[in-house]
Structures are given as C-alpha cells and as structure tokens.
Symmetry: C2
Subunit: 416 residues, 2 copies
Amino acid sequence: MKQTHLFTKTRKEAPKGEESKNAQLLIRAGYIHKEMAGVYTMLPLGLRVLKNIEQIIREEMNKVGGQEMNLTALQDKKLWKASGRWDDSVVDNWFKTKLKNDTELGLGFTHEEPIANAMVSFVNSYKDLPFYAYQIQTKFRNESRAKAGLMRGREFVMKDLYSFSKNEEEHNIFYEAMKESYMRVFGRLGIGENTYLTASNGKPFSKYSYEFQTVSSAGEDVIVIDKSKNIAINKDDFNESIISDLHLKGFEVGSEEKSVEVGDIYSLGTKYSEALGLVYKDEKGKELPVYMGSYGMSPTRLMGTIVEVLSDEGGIVWPESVAPFKYHLVLLNADKEEVKEYADSIYNSLQEKNIEVLYDDRDKPAGEKFADSDLIGIPKRIVISQKTLDQSEDERKLEVKDRKTGEVEMLLEGEL
Amino acid sequence: MKQTHLFTKTRKEAPKGEESKNAQLLIRAGYIHKEMAGVYTMLPLGLRVLKNIEQIIREEMNKVGGQEMNLTALQDKKLWKASGRWDDSVVDNWFKTKLKNDTELGLGFTHEEPIANAMVSFVNSYKDLPFYAYQIQTKFRNESRAKAGLMRGREFVMKDLYSFSKNEEEHNIFYEAMKESYMRVFGRLGIGENTYLTASNGKPFSKYSYEFQTVSSAGEDVIVIDKSKNIAINKDDFNESIISDLHLKGFEVGSEEKSVEVGDIYSLGTKYSEALGLVYKDEKGKELPVYMGSYGMSPTRLMGTIVEVLSDEGGIVWPESVAPFKYHLVLLNADKEEVKEYADSIYNSLQEKNIEVLYDDRDKPAGEKFADSDLIGIPKRIVISQKTLDQSEDERKLEVKDRKTGEVEMLLEGEL
C-alpha cells in the first residue's frame, strides 16, 4: 500500500487525556481513533494488526478442535435470570437497553448462558460429547474507569471458547491442552517469554483457576514468579493453600512483577448447563448435565499489551507475526525522477511476490520519514535514495534496517 | 470437515413462530440459531457462508480503492446531536444505553457521524481527497417488527462504505463506479439476474437516489421493471418527475414485482461534513466542506435473500461462490469397512488438495442422508456406496450430483 493512498496520517502529539502508552502510540501512528474512553475505532493499519492477531488465535483454536461460530451482542434477559447473572447487583458492568415494547435486553459481556442454551438443540447423547465452540466477537463491559487504552475496553474484541464434556475427567484433559494452546498463541504473538501461566482464584466460577499474565509496567495485577518452573501465582491469591491445592509444591518464590492478564481459562462445572437445561443421556440412558469450561483471550487487549511490552522510545516495535506489513519501503529524494522510478519498481516487484509492503512515497524530509517509520514500527525498513542509485546497477544493494535491533544489512533485491 | 465432528444437527421442523422461509431453512439445516426475533447466532456452517459473502464484498470494495477499517457500536451522543439525528422523534430505531455515570450512549444503526468526525484528524487539504473508507461491522436497529429472518435484523452485519470528495463532480464519478461495483457483487453472489438498479426517493438524505432490488416473493418493496434497459423504479416513487429528473426518458413500464432491497447508495452532499466540521482547503486556501457519499449493503440480509431466491422444495441451493463447502461427500453403507475406508481416502485426498468438503460419515439411512444433504444445499454431492466399490478399481467412477439441476455425472477421482 502506498502511503499517499492511505487516508491516515501520523501525529506528533497524543490527544489530551489519553494516559496509556499503548493508546498514545497507536493513535499517534494512525492505528486507532478514540471514540470515547475505552472505545476505539480500528483504522486501516490497526485493523490489519488486529486481523493478524485474530488469525493466529483462530489457527490455534482450530488445532485443538475448536469450531468457529458467532453469537450475538443482544442478550435475552430470560437466560441470564436462569443463571442468576441478570441483576446489576450480581454483575456490575452490564450495558442494558430496551426493545420498543420495553422488553429489557443486555449487551453480552460474556456468553456462557446463550451458548449453553443454543447447545440444548444439539446435545442429546454421550455420543455428541465432547466438543468445543468458539467465537471472535465484540463484547461490551460498562467499566466505570477506562483509562488503559486497548487494555481495558468498554467495547472490545474477545475470543471466547467453550468446552462441552461428559464429566470432570474428560474436561480436565482438554483444560490441560488449552494451557499449552494459550502459551503457543502468546509465543507466536511475540510475548511468550514475558508471559506466565498463573494460578489464581477462580472467581466468579470456581475456587481456583489459571490465568495468563504478561509482565508489564502497565499491568493492573502483580504476580509472584517461579522462573525455574516458568509459573506464577497472582499475588492477591498467594498463600499456602493455593500451593497445596493446585499441587504446586516446591514453588520457589522469585521476583514480584506488575503484569497484564492476557487470558483466563475456567472450569465451569455444571453451573450453566444445569441452569439452562443442557443435559445428555449416558450409556445407560441416565440424564446428566454437561460439564463446561470457558477460555477467554482478547485480541484487542493483546494488541495493546504487545505495544506496551515491545515498544521503545522511537515508537511501536511489532513482531513480524502481527505487523501490518513486513517491509516499510521508504523513498528519499522523491523529487528525483530516477530514484522515484527505481523505488516504484521495487514496490511493484514486492507486490507481485505477495510480500506485504507499506511504501512511503510521500515527498517529505528524510528525518520526518524516519521518525514516522519508527513510530509505525514495521519490522524491516528498506531505504531507497540517490545513494542507492549511485551504485553500479549490477551490484546495487538496498539498505535494510531492523526496527527492533537497529541493525543494518545491505541486500541485493533478490535477497529480500 | 466430518459431519460426526460438526456439533450442529439438522432438524425436521422449524421452531414455532418463525415465519420466514430463509430463517426456517437456515435453522433447520443448522446454519443459524435464533436468540430472539431479528437476532440470530451464526453457527459454524452459517459463519462459513457469511465469511464467503463478506470476502466477495471486500474484494470488490478494495477494487474501487476502498480502505477497510472498523468503527464502534457504542456512539457518542454529541456527534449525533450535531447532525440532528440523536432524538428518537427523528430516528425511530435507536437502541440506547448508559454509562455508569448516566451518560447516554447509542448503538450505531449507521456511521455517517462518527466517520465524518474521525476524518477531521486526517483531512486538511484538497490533496487529501478523494478517498474511500469502509467497514464490515455489526449494526443495531430497534425494529418494532422483525419477522423476516435474516432479511430484517435488529442486530445484523453491514458493509458501509463512505466516500469523501472535493465536490459534487468528483463525487459523481465515484457514485457511478459504485453502481457497477454493486452489480458485480450481486453477480458474484448468484443473484445478479434477479437484481435491478432501482431509482427511488433518496430519503433521508436527498431527493433521489439509487437502490438495488432483488426480485423475491418475500420482498417488502414493489418495483416497476424496464427489462430492455435492465433498470427499475420503486413503485412508491414512480411518477413522471422521477423519470425526467433522473434522465430516465424512454423508461418502458414493464412488470411489477415484489422485491428485497439489497443495497443503497446515497449522495450525502455536505450535510454531515458541515455538521461535524469536516473541511479542506482548496488550491487557493479557501476552506470548503467535504462532499460525502454512503453506500450500504448487508451481508446477513444478502445471505437471507440468497436462500429466499434460490432454494427449492428440498432445501437451500447455494451458489458455489458462497457455499460453506464445494462438495458434500456422502457415505452410504457406513457399516461396511471397505466402503468406509474408500470414502475416507477420497475425503483425505480432497483435503490435501485444499478442496472444501463436508464429509457425511454418519451411520444413518441413505434417505435421511440425502434429505439432509438437499436441505444443507452444498453445490455438488459425491455418493460413495457398495456400488462404487463394486466397479473394477481401474475404472472406478464416482456419482456426482448437482444440487441445482439434479444432473448426475460419473467422474473418475482425478476429474473432481
């Protein structure tokens, strides 16, 4: 994509009142637009990153047998009354609205109730279990405070998978598989080394549970890390009984770090299946409630977390797996016809090879272009200038700079 | 995908109170689940169809230079007050909600206001124009009546593109290009021959405008068609002045047909840019409001329309371009090891070639399998039975039946 075609522009200053680093950088670079606190529009560059994150998650969910679907935002009060989660005294972050005939509706902040209800049509026998369904969908949470940019949204994207098993034993096998699946996602997103499987209380679903915490100064949690075992415990829940109950004997108390919760996996038991009538008949014809689990992870929060964890003083540093483009082709001396033509030819040849490239073809000073390029944070920058053309055509090498390390390589066009 | 793995099942009866043919068939075949009137969950098969429709639209929007983004559902009252569209007396299908501090918010039923507001950050000069931005996103409309299945949703997916031009002349060039772009979309979706560019009043935006109407007995509109010119006029707006004002002289009044509005394209003029302060400086430094257009089309409504228009007494008939799978591989005599193994091998070999196939590997009677297959509506059905295996291995042919025409071909495996 040519930058002269892209309608967004970078800006020098973040908007007033935007406190979080992730939102400041993402707004300045033209990835997102703030509608109101905790509510952000995805601009073209932002949507590209978000879709890359979603695709990595989708691939990993498919690998564990997940079937993708898409539930609705509008929620039927009846289902949430059945589980006891309708009242604002129980759930304090509902957004609610009304039909013309005054029927109250909710906006989904999670989907245990509607998915259990939908599955009643499809589950009869033990032969129908286990299975796993997930969605990548917009959630609404009426947060009273939303100052953390993409890290805590009032409207945000969530991947939520739900597992449906015959019993606790069958459930536990999948629950363990999901721990590994989640760590694979974080690894592919470039935050694997900063992210810990973290034992915590299981509120609101169970006594204990696991979450995933990424070490970041922007985090709202604190975790106690055992680096030798690559595991952590949420400091709020750290005590002897969580260690013994979760069989974490030998946990070595290491450093305490601020961290962001980037995922959680819950054993729900039969609470929702009993409330919504999701039952199956076992081999002997006996009717039993389905054993459920739920597994959350927010692509938008992950986008914010990646920016918080990996950016530097120059701007964003995207890992290649989620970057909006692989290369940022930066043309200097745009006023010189020969240089411009050569840069155009490199752009066209990368396009033909289906290599994703953002082409800064704007007629702007080099300093401004480099500052914008650092801010936008594409992994590799190719610079084309009069100097490039001054080399003999046979041995013409291109300057390719790594955004993360700053290392510069001189490569022949074919080596890109 | 194996049908024994798919968690959905077909059902013989549509749920009570579901009047529309599209929702009846889509629910019976396991494409969608009804949450409430006008609000449907996309099950795995349904999501596959929806994504295929969205991808066709996306490709055509990119072709005309559209840049994809994603605005939010939650709406800031301030922007809609500025344009005069906040009050329920002006817009009668708002869903509204509230923040904890009692600030009123809306749920977006369209996005002229927020997109004009977002673009204020990016438009300064005539050099920034024209450009085109679009999204494929969930809209909310508080319809008092919602009995048409996917054809009129309270929560539904919309593709809405907005054009930003310097003046009416520049706008008109793009507006004409969009007429063709839309017809290409309907053509690729398999309803091109039933769909007419239709002149109508331009409410609520302008005096006249164009919409696209697909002939269907389920439609809520009536159009007057001139088949020789391949154009129609909405019957409600049919009179001499629309013919002369839109330069439709020589319009030959042909048949009147019930029809579904599947798209609309509006010239907005400067109403929203003036209200939201979206201005640019021309060559002489004079400040002028941007000339806008908006172009809507709903992938979910299109999904419902395709079912209404193309289904037959046996069930759904998907065009290949949107079908959830290209082939439905149906195994008969599933209890016979040799037959099952052969069908498995065909399934694996299609999977390896990345040919999308749904494999009915269930142990069920042939009649039930064929009825399910007709209902689900995949374009080509391959039947594997003892009869297939009875042929000599060298010349073994597969029975391939076309869902639409009913024609049966006998093909070698390599000919698929």
